[in-house]
């Protein structure tokens, strides 16, 4: 008796509550989707100017796997920007595994002519105050790579000044910049070798967003 009553009560409440949620969900779903796309767009816009392409970049991707280059064992989605169908840029997400206290996740956009369109750090665990100047919010260090390529400066100069490279580290912190720059170098090398294959590959967007 009490069992049935409890079951009915709880079932009833679940029904009402779930119904309310379903209602709200139905009402908000389109807007959430739009916001999500917009958010992805905003992130992309940080590394790649909107004017550079005109396709729906979130729907044009290919998936590659290269643990050495991208620093992750799982597949990596590469987004392809096109302008009127012609290649405009490739957007890679990569990980620099040798940060001071762990992985540094990057988003890197590269024009077909090998120039870097933009770089952003999407996640890291570096020491606040020391290594975290790689964040755009904290410092504009990360912006210096825009427009550079593997030939300018030369490939062997893609490291911190302490190791004989072109780029400044931060006061008291070279590990983090070194890790970022090395990751950039690797991705550029990959881009150099694989550019055409990447643009040509079939369209396949994985679930994950960067």
């Amino acid at each position: 008796m009490s069992m049935a009553r409890h079951a009915a009560m709880l079932g009833g409440f679940t029904l009402v509550c779930t119904a309310a949620i379903v209602l709200v969900q139905t009402l908000t779903a389109p807007r959430i989707q739009a916001e999500q796309d917009a958010a992805f767009g905003r992130l992309l816009a940080e590394v790649l100017p909107l004017s550079a392409y005109n396709n729906t970049i979130a729907r044009d991707c290919t998936v590659v796997e290269d643990a050495d280059t991208f620093g992750r064992s799982s597949a990596v989605t590469v987004y392809r920007a096109r302008r009127d169908g012609a290649p405009a840029a490739l957007v890679f997400s990569a990980t620099a595994p040798d940060g001071y206290s762990g992985d540094i996740d990057l988003l890197i956009a590269i024009y077909p002519d090998q120039r870097i369109a933009g770089v952003r750090v999407t996640a890291h665990k570096e020491t606040p105050g020391l290594g975290d100047k790689i964040e755009r919010r904290k410092d504009d260090w990360i912006d210096q790579f825009r427009g550079l390529s593997l030939s300018q400066p030369a490939e062997e100069k893609w490291t911190v000044r302490k190791d004989g490279g072109e780029f400044d580290g931060f006061t008291g912190a070279t590990i983090t910049p070194r890790a970022v720059i090395h990751a950039l170098r690797r991705v550029q090398q990959y881009h150099l070798a694989q550019r055409d294959a990447l643009y040509a590959a079939g369209n396949h967007c994985a679930e994950a967003t960067p």
Binding site: C17, S101, D103, K125
Partner: protein, 192 residues
């Protein structure tokens, strides 16, 4: 195996639920005046946390994902937790009055311990497998228990100290927790 071990250490120490992830703070502050009670609370929470971790994995991968109703995750998880806790309490009260006397008054508190729900949600966020979910839940429980127990030990000492009047009680407790959290930052980057 080493992966699981690393997950365990990382969850229990490096990303400690209480001091780094900020989960389960209410029981952490509330049930830490004595080590004995802290121990009971830790045991009860560990049980529920591990169980709920596993169950919520099942709910997630058998119901929520196939039906594509991810937005009902919170609701279904909390329902699972509330029922687990309530059921455990009732069962324990009958079958093991001794255990119930030890843990009884803490069990209802666990429903509102956000570590339980938080760990379940973090599990799905990190896309853990079933075994990983269990390990993660258990490690979080161990981390919770560890800091709760140690904190209770410190508080027993503070309770006999001449703390300035405005700081007595909760304030000095929180400051101590702050210093603990400062100390736990030493684990940052361990086995990165």
């Amino acid at each position: 195996m080493t992966d699981l071990l690393l997950l365990f250490v990382a969850t229990a120490l490096v990303n400690n639920v209480v001091l780094v992830k900020f989960l389960g703070l209410c029981p952490f502050m509330g049930v830490s005046n004595q080590q004995d009670t802290a121990l009971s609370m830790a045991a009860a929470t560990s049980f529920v946390l591990t169980l709920a971790s596993g169950l919520s994995y099942l709910v997630n991968s058998w119901i929520l994902i196939p039906l594509e109703i991810g937005y009902l995750r919170t609701l279904s998880f909390i329902l699972v937790i509330a029922v687990v806790v309530q059921f455990t309490e009732m069962m324990m009260a009958k079958t093991s009055p001794l255990l119930h006397r030890l843990l009884g008054i803490y069990l209802p508190l666990i429903t509102t311990n956000c570590a339980v729900l938080g760990v379940a949600l973090l599990n799905t966020q990190a896309a853990h497998s079933f075994v990983e979910s269990l390990v993660f839940g258990f490690a979080a429980a161990v981390g919770f228990s560890l800091v709760l127990f140690l904190f209770a030990g410190i508080r027993e000492r503070i309770n006999v100290a001449d703390v300035p009047a405005p700081f007595r009680g909760a304030a000095i407790g929180l400051i101590t927790a702050g210093l603990m959290s400062l100390a736990f930052m030493g684990f940052a980057g361990l086995f990165k």
